[in-house]
């Protein structure tokens, strides 16, 4: 039996850049190449892995601008608009999140990428027209500095965990 926790812990750092990467992972987690491949396939089929591929840092590729656009949407409209926003290829995330009144009135978040500010705003305008959200309260939060960006690490290695205690 493959240890799912160990496999995920190993996968979250990325596939090793060697000829037989699945075999390399298998060695790390006392499994076999075949088991590793089958289990990744299973997680893909179940939708637990949304995609399995190259993950790039958009900023470094000339997509230097990104804005988180946050919206205050009526409860009965959130699902519809969340899907509408999500269909554009320049939108990488579309999530519902809780409001925190009075500080934070927004419940729908989407991330828009572009080559520069103007590009992002043009994309936003396209969304506003296509999804018919003119007049809906929203704010555009451009990112100005990236302090840290890497893949999520949900499971800390045992070593690191003990080091923090």
């Amino acid at each position: 039996m493959i240890d799912e926790r160990k496999l995920i812990a190993s996968l979250q750092h990325g596939l090793p850049l060697v000829s037989r990467p699945y075999a390399a992972i298998a060695r790390q987690i006392d499994s076999s190449e075949e088991e590793v491949i089958n289990y990744i396939q299973l997680m893909k089929n179940q939708g637990d892995i949304k995609r399995f591929g190259v993950v790039v840092r958009h900023r470094k590729l000339g997509y230097k601008s990104n804005a988180m656009v946050v919206w205050d949407i009526a409860e009965d409209k959130v699902d519809e608009l969340g899907h509408c926003f999500g269909q554009f290829d320049f939108v990488t995330l579309s999530y519902r999140r809780p409001r925190h009144l009075p500080d934070w009135p927004y419940n729908l978040f989407c991330m828009i990428h572009g080559q520069d500010r103007a590009d992002v705003l043009t994309n936003l305008q396209l969304m506003i027209e296509s999804c018919d959200v003119k007049g809906i309260n929203h704010e555009v939060l451009f990112s100005t500095r990236c302090f840290k960006q890497r893949g999520a690490v949900y499971i800390q290695s045992e070593q690191k965990k003990s080091a923090r205690v």
């Binding site: 037989r20 637990d48 995609r51 190259v54 993950v55 999530y95 934070w104 690490v153």
Partner: protein, 169 residues
């Protein structure tokens, strides 16, 4: 192995190859024993070229990783956290937050809430503990905005590489 000087022709071929590599394999790295060899075959080059290119892209910071994007909350829990940090403390607070291994993205954004970061944990208790620890170490309150519903997550998007001004497409 010999190292040849890079001509303009090679540089252009390299850009094309990079673009194909980054565009064609955002969703499905082959699940065969030799995925890079399979990718190389589809691109019409050697496995060693694909591996070298991926390593170079990783060194340049363009490639974050070759790997999985997990469904949110499938493994562990996470939240989007925001802080309203006085401008003069921003770098200091950002450094404290970035130092947590539980933090992956950490950005300054133009807003009263000017520091935005994602915090992950194995379980809700651990997440709460981390957030509380951050608040006490920075003395700034955290707005925690966990995802409630996912309509669309990063599925990759078409990339255009631009190199200099003399690329022909």
């Amino acid at each position: 192995m010999t190292v040849e000087p890079v001509s303009h022709h090679d540089a252009r071929k390299n850009t094309e190859l990079t673009q194909q590599l980054l565009n064609n394999f955002q969703h499905d790295i082959p699940l065969s024993p030799t995925p890079y060899a399979d990718m190389a075959e589809r691109l019409g080059v050697d496995e060693q070229i694909v591996l070298k290119l991926l390593k170079d892209l990783q060194d340049q910071g363009i490639l974050s990783r070759v790997g999985a994007v997990f469904r949110p909350n499938r493994v562990g829990v996470s939240t989007l956290a925001a802080m309203a940090v006085p401008e003069y403390r921003l770098q200091q607070v950002a450094d404290i937050i970035s130092a947590y291994s539980a933090v992956n993205h950490n950005y300054e954004r133009e807003h009263h809430f000017n520091l935005w970061f994602v915090v992950t944990a194995e379980n809700p208790q651990q997440l709460d503990d981390t957030l509380a620890d951050m608040e006490s170490r920075t003395d700034i309150r955290i707005l925690s905005l966990p995802m409630e519903k996912d309509y669309h997550i990063d599925l990759g998007f078409p990339l255009q590489l631009v190199q200099g001004g003399n690329h022909d497409r």
